[in-house]
Amino acid sequence: MTQHLGKNIPTPTAGTQAYWDACHNHQLKIQCCADCQHYQFYPRIVCTQCMSEHLDWVEVSGQAQIVSYTVVARAVSKAYEMNVPYIVALVVLDEGPTMMTNIIDCSPEKVRVGMSVVVCFEDWTDEITIPKFRPTAP
């Protein structure tokens, strides 16, 4: 885990702790509205569709498609330099919401918009695990 020292490590809040706890257990959980069944990400205290405050945490499939991507050639900070070139992508989950992520286990030449990807997990510290995605097909 020492290779992640100095990266932008998130600090969970009361409202996002359930998400990070699930990541710690290598599960991707997002909110689903108990009243209108709308899935949303990032976590909020209200449903963005109906403003209900009855939100359940639901484990999702982890299946997604790449909406857009970039290959970062100049790292954002020293801690990321060893990963250059790294792929940053927006992926849309099968359940609907979009997430920012990295695509790993994929060469920068192979990444494509529309590519099917699946969630995987990188343990950064004893508490924080970061969800990433890798191509579904090898």
């Binding site: 809040t13 990400f41 857009s68 970039t70 290959v71 050639a73 954002v76 927006l90």
Partner: protein, 389 residues
């Protein structure tokens, strides 16, 4: 809704020197710009009763506008600092105009400056960049500011077939104007090949697709159209405003390829009673080249998806159908961060005063200025006229 049309005028406008200005701090650049604008307007500081600034990254204050007022020893009755990135300038002009029209104050000074090139250490600049984005759901993935915009560029290429060469045409067009502008930071001629062969920063964005990092300040002075006739320079009238705000974080955007410039543009055109074909000269926010293509489409200067071919056609060059970013823009003139779009505003004023020297658009009567802040988050469109009717 069209009650503000033609009621407010810009009566003073000025820029400091820009580029690498190590002998002036961000605060000093802000005050220098203010002083130059006061001289341009031919008034004393005591006539300013409204002051608007934006905070500086190099030399921030808890209450920035108050700090600038204190420095200049002016005592305004309307005073605030704003922070919506590149959209700040024009959205705040909207507020200032409303304040004048409703009698809150008479004469508003908007002055903005920063010292991103000389006033920040490398570590501070990196920390600033690292902090861009959602602290839990975006920044862990190591995005640079160009990387956020690269996501937009890639999506546009995928959807509309836009090419790297078409994006590069925006940078080349801006540089051609910068060659004619003695104050621009970068004046060496460049070609499409230079852009696409420059160092890759975040695929598909090359170094020359990215705007500059600069020091500089810029200021304008606004008053009512009735009072504007008493000032020494030809007044420039505000004909239309519009804003559109769609998100803060790009991962939450409704669309990567269509921006809320659609709404800001429609609102501004509606107030002005004008359309894209009435615009003689445009200043379109150009922090990265693909942003310009999307804004040109969303503001109605070409069909959706046609921004690339439009830029590549040479339409934005001097003598083209839509002369654009005539000072060289953020890509070649200067980009000191939040104040960046102020220079587009002062350039539009020069064009409408017919004082833009070699880069003057012949008989320019109507200018459109568009700013955006965040990652395509906040859009503001402003339409200015040489006449108020």
């Amino acid at each position: 809704m069209n009650s503000l049309r033609g009621k407010i005028a810009i009566v003073g406008a000025a820029d400091t020197e820009v580029g690498v200005i190590p002998h002036l701090s961000a605060t000093e650049l802000c005050v220098k710009a203010a002083n130059l604008a006061l001289k341009d307007a031919g008034i004393s500081k005591d006539q300013i009763d409204g002051l608007i600034t934006c905070n500086s990254m190099a030399e921030p204050y808890m209450y920035h506008a108050e700090a600038i007022a204190e420095y200049m020893q002016i005592f305004p009755k309307y005073c605030m600092a704003v922070a919506t990135g590149g959209g700040s300038t024009f959205s705040i002009l909207h507020h200032a105009a409303t304040a004048i029209a409703t009698g809150v104050c008479n004469t508003v000074l908007i002055t903005m400056a920063d010292s991103l090139r000389s006033g920040l250490s490398r570590d501070q600049a990196m920390a600033m960049q690292s902090a861009t984005g959602h602290p839990q759901f975006e920044t862990p993935y190591g995005l640079t500011v160009p990387a956020y915009y690269a996501l937009i560029a890639r999506a546009h290429m995928e959807k509309y077939g836009t090419t790297a060469e078409q994006m590069a045409a925006v940078a080349v067009s801006g540089r051609q104007y910068a060659e004619l502008n003695p104050t621009a930071q970068m004046r060496t001629p460049i070609t499409i090949e230079d852009v696409v062969n420059s160092r890759m920063i975040a695929d598909p964005l090359h170094l020359l697709d990215c705007s500059l990092v600069s020091d500089g300040g810029s200021a304008v002075i606004l008053t009512s159209a009735e009072r504007a006739k008493d000032f020494p320079n030809h007044p420039v009238y505000v004909l239309g405003f519009g804003e559109g705000h769609s998100h803060e974080h790009i991962s939450q955007a409704r669309s990567l390829t269509t921006s809320s410039a659609v709404e800001s543009g429609q609102r501004a055109y509606q107030m002005a009673g004008l359309g894209p074909s009435d615009i003689d000269v445009a200043q379109i926010y150009d922090c990265f080249t693909p942003v310009v293509l999307i804004e040109l489409e969303d503001l109605g200067f070409c069909a959706k998806g046609e921004g690339g071919p439009f830029a590549a056609s040479g339409a934005t060059q001097l003598g083209g159908s839509l002369p654009m970013n005539t000072n060289g823009g953020l890509l070649s003139h200067c980009h000191p961060g939040n104040p960046g779009s102020m220079f587009a505003l002062t350039e539009a004023v020069s064009q409408l005063r017919h004082t833009a020297d070699q880069r003057q658009v012949s008989n320019a009567q109507v200018a459109l200025v568009h700013g955006q802040g965040g990652i395509m988050s906040s859009h503001t469109t402003l339409i200015l006229g040489r006449e108020n009717s």
